[in-house]
């Protein structure tokens, strides 16, 4: 009898734990959908912020800024990440490979604010100004380990038989990797890239003193640049109701983007793999 009660209590606790975790999720999503959805309009996408206290205006410059920063981050971290992943997957069964794997894992765990300091030291101090470059560098460091480790895993998932078939035909190592291994690993690598981008869309901390934010359009990449999460932060901690509304609208756009990207990544994982020879 006592054992049965204990059993039921434990089962109930596990179920309640799930509910407790989902309540804040639902609350956050509902708030974003209701408050953000209400504040979203065309102006939000085509106007820059108005001076504080005036109503209206939008986050057009921040949306473009975020896209620019993602572009800059992708530009260096995707090629570097894929090449590092190829190294780990193909040639990385040695000491250096082991070491590199740990280095990448630890890199993925650096607090994002610390990455911000690093980018500040490398870019902002020598350039003597906040810039899009510094922001792109900081975001790229967050993306790099995601891309590299997924690429490695995808390459390792390619069955040995396929490689053996290539070797049996006398195909050189480069062509084996380029035309055969990478070809079947592509959906996975793309998934890694999308997950990496989804991770950096909402990153605020590393941009605070690198991209810095900007209430106007940026005219060059050597200037401070606006970003969606930065703008949401500035507006959320401001005392103006209209800015709060816009912060919710900005959150709505960010969460929507993150969700779309995660869903695409999931679809590629589920569909792409059955199509290629991986299964």
């Amino acid at each position: 009898m006592k054992r049965k009660v204990m059993n039921n209590c434990a089962m109930a606790f596990c179920f309640i734990a799930v509910i407790v975790a989902l309540v804040p999720l639902v609350s956050i999503l509902l708030d974003i959908a209701i408050k953000g959805g209400r504040a979203l309009n065309l102006n939000f996408f085509i106007h820059t912020p108005r001076p504080s206290g005036e109503t209206g205006g939008g986050m057009a410059n921040a949306i473009v800024g975020t896209l620019t920063l993602i572009g800059l981050a992708s530009l260096w971290s995707i090629p570097l990440g894929i090449l590092t992943g190829i190294y780990l997957g193909e040639f990385g069964s040695n000491r250096f490979g082991e070491f590199l794997r740990v280095a990448l894992d630890v890199m993925g765990g650096i607090p994002s604010i610390v990455i911000g300091i690093f980018a500040y030291i490398i870019f902002v101090i020598p350039m003597k100004t906040f810039s899009a470059w510094a922001g792109g560098f900081a975001l790229g460091i967050i993306m790099l380990p995601v891309v590299a480790r997924t690429t490695e895993e995808m390459i390792r998932m390619v069955p040995l038989e396929i490689r053996e078939a290539a070797w049996a035909l006398g195909i050189t190592p480069f062509h084996t990797i380029w035309h055969i291994v990478l070809r079947s690993a592509v959906p996975g690598i793309i998934t890694g890239i999308i997950l990496g981008i989804a991770r950096i869309i909402g990153e605020t901390a590393p941009l605070l003193f690198t991209a810095f934010g900007n209430m106007f359009w940026h005219h060059s990449l050597n200037q401070p640049i606006a970003a969606l999460p930065l703008q949401v932060f500035t507006y959320a901690v401001s005392p103006y109701d209209d800015w709060h509304r816009q912060a919710w609208a900005g959150s709505f756009v960010m969460v929507l983007l993150v969700c779309i990207m995660s869903i695409i990544a999931r679809l590629i994982i589920e569909r792409g793999f059955t199509k290629t020879s991986l299964k």
């Binding site: 708030d31 040639f91 070491f99 280095a103 650096i110 604010i113 380029w178």
Partner: protein, 305 residues
């Protein structure tokens, strides 16, 4: 044929080059952080970590209030989050009907996808008012004699930060726990059930006992995340560099002081002190996540064989 050889060499060379670049970035990281922390290390030495005064005007810097705030908030968050995450992992792995597992685990993982600044905003506009108007008056009236619930309450403060952190690290801990539970062979479960254990007894003996080292590691990974969390905490913790054990009082963490003051740091020593805090924060998270990763790796491998 010669062209082939060159192609091979170039390809392998560029892969090696990329890896060396990643490695070099690490060296640069350590070099630059130590270099830029030096002015502060030279001026304050080890007393930097024990000094409770943070006074930018007279350039007297001590990191203890921030270290305390970071450690206190993260450990409390872990205390709340760990049992919940274990419950979720058990539910998803052992109890839930099969059709439910995928969508529910997707929802729990969605918690990890929400940007931290949005958690912060939710904390300011939704959680803090609830705490201030309903939860904290109740706690203050009935449990006010405990130091944990002493003093005036504002809504914003340590309590909001702890709650938000514990929500944010649930997906990390529960997904690692699930991986570890999955690595427990079904034979263990069947053995438990066959000797007449109830489901809970089976889970306790066959699953939890076998995975206890792994659960420890999952907690370490969650802790690593909580220590470094910046935006959400900065927005709700109140940002006052004082050491207080009351959950109602405002606090300050290492990450939030960097976020708030880095752009305002006017002197070299000020900037250097903030950089040193960043470096110490990195070493703390490094310590926890590195050890946890090693354990998870060893554990999931050894249990399979």
């Amino acid at each position: 044929m010669k062209k082939e050889k060159i192609l091979n060499a170039v390809f392998k060379g560029s892969a090696i080059f990329a890896s060396v670049v990643v490695f070099a970035m690490w060296l640069l990281f350590f070099f630059e952080f130590i270099k830029h922390s030096l002015p502060s290390i030279r001026k304050f030495g080890f007393s930097f970590l024990a000094n409770t005064v943070w006074d930018p005007v007279s350039e007297n810097f001590g990191a203890l209030p921030f270290i305390f705030g970071t450690v206190f908030s993260s450990f409390l968050a872990l205390l709340i989050s760990l049992p919940l995450s274990l419950g979720i992992a058990i539910f998803l792995n052992e109890l839930a009907p099969l059709w439910m597992r995928k969508p529910v685990s997707f929802l729990v993982e969605l918690l990890a996808a929400i940007p931290s600044v949005i958690y912060g905003m939710w904390g300011i506009f939704v959680l803090s008012p609830i705490l201030r108007n309903h939860v904290q008056p109740f706690l203050s009236n009935h449990l006010g004699f405990l130091p944990l619930f002493g003093g005036p309450y504002y809504g914003i403060g340590m309590m909001s930060a702890v709650l938000i952190l514990s929500i944010m690290i649930i997906p990390t801990i529960s997904s690692v726990c699930r991986e570890i539970f999955k690595a427990v062979p079904d034979v263990y479960r069947e053995t438990g059930l066959s000797i007449g254990a109830t489901k809970w007894e089976m889970i306790r003996i066959s699953v939890l006992q076998t995975s206890r080292v792994g659960i420890f590691a999952a907690a370490g990974l969650g802790l690593g995340r909580a220590l470094g969390e910046t935006m959400a905490v900065t927005m709700v913790i109140g940002n006052r560099p004082e050491i207080s054990f009351s959950l109602f009082a405002p606090g300050y963490t290492m990450a939030s002081v960097i976020a708030n003051e880095f752009t305002e740091a006017t002197t070299d020593v000020y900037l250097s002190a903030l950089t040193e805090i960043g470096f110490v924060l990195f070493l703390m998270t490094f310590f926890f996540s590195f050890i946890s990763r090693m354990i998870v790796k060893k554990y999931t491998v050894s249990i399979h064989t």
